[in-house]
Symmetry: C2
Subunit: 208 residues, 2 copies
């Protein structure tokens, strides 16, 4: 029996993670192959780092040039393998993502999540915009035809703020420590380098 309906794939992400952007770009192709689309879960990476004692790779490996060079090599390999040509380094990195992550939760409530996510990932990692700046964010959302005023109003509500905190706390409690993190039902995988294993786990669980 095909159990596609019982396989839940969750993608825990923060827009501030360039590796999450890479995953976002290749998840549609994976969904086409497996029949299982990812449910995107916005988390606040800074909050998850505090909860877990983890740090960003940029910070943790700042003094290890060989490690940074290798990570950059693996990043280029990923771009090349998947034919991703639009990526551009964000000159404001690291960016405080609190506003745009709250915006993601708000967009879920307002029914414009998919275009919001596409737009903000593009602003972060294709257009190199300063997405910590609310004015920049509002302009980008308006340009994309998204309801910027409604989104900003929702971002300010306790419901949205608490939902993002709850997502982040839940990620911590389920074992996550960074972005991107995947769950295939309860099986966790970390990082763009595990996408193949994520796909294999989906297929395995479908056929189980």
């Amino acid at each position: 029996m095909d159990k596609a309906d019982t396989v839940k794939l969750r993608f825990l992400f923060d827009f501030g993670s360039p590796n999450a952007y890479l995953c976002h770009k290749v998840l549609p192709a994976m969904a086409a192959r497996t029949g299982v689309a990812a449910a995107y879960v916005p988390i606040l990476l800074g909050g998850l780092f505090k909860l877990t004692n983890n740090r960003s790779p940029a910070e943790a490996f700042a003094d290890i040039p060989n490690k940074r060079a290798y990570d950059a090599l693996e990043f280029r390999r990923f771009l090349e393998k998947h034919g991703l040509t639009a990526y551009r380094r964000n000159e404001f990195f690291p960016v405080n993502t609190l506003t745009i992550m709250r915006g993601a939760v708000a967009a879920q409530a307002l029914g414009c999540f998919a275009p919001y996510v596409d737009t903000v990932f593009s602003c972060m990692w294709e257009r190199s915009l300063d997405m910590a700046d609310a004015n920049v964010v509002a302009a980008a959302l308006n340009d994309a035809g998204l309801p910027a005023a409604e989104l900003f109003a929702a971002m300010g509500t306790a419901e949205v703020k608490q939902a993002l905190m709850a997502n982040t706390q839940g990620a911590f409690e389920q074992g996550a420590f960074g972005s991107p993190t995947f769950f295939v039902n309860d099986q966790m995988f970390f990082g763009k380098d595990r996408l193949r294993e994520v796909e294999e786990e989906i297929v395995s669980q479908r056929n189980r």
Copy 2:
């Protein structure tokens, strides 16, 4: 044209790395598939860490329980995927590997490298012996029918000491920062999680 002869695979390892043990166990199957056997390059991981400012995962992630739990999960997944049942945690970990890494260089000179490597990996990660203790090492080598006295005599020579240092310095200069590290000609890959990419790179270079 088949270019198997022109594809050089190097495996930079330190016996102290459990992930290097895992790679050692699966490299023969990869060689059977690709026709390219790995050339093992002994390096001193502690020396490489000093050169690169890197630290062991045990040290770097000591205060990040979620990260440690995930690494343990990936370790178990690897054991299961490859049917490796002999692994046992080394109760003396972390082990100072200077003696056994010098021994690896000595074994290359004495023509007993392959059985030496098998024996020492087994002592480290199947038999949980204290391989920082020269008496334990000597007994284990004797038990395995290896020329312990000759190996220890060679370990004490300047040639062997300098060769291990040169391997380690060379690894640093080529971009390595940990163990296991692979080079497919000049293409570097780090970690047991990249073995599939190592194999694909070998096949790609063979068919180029």
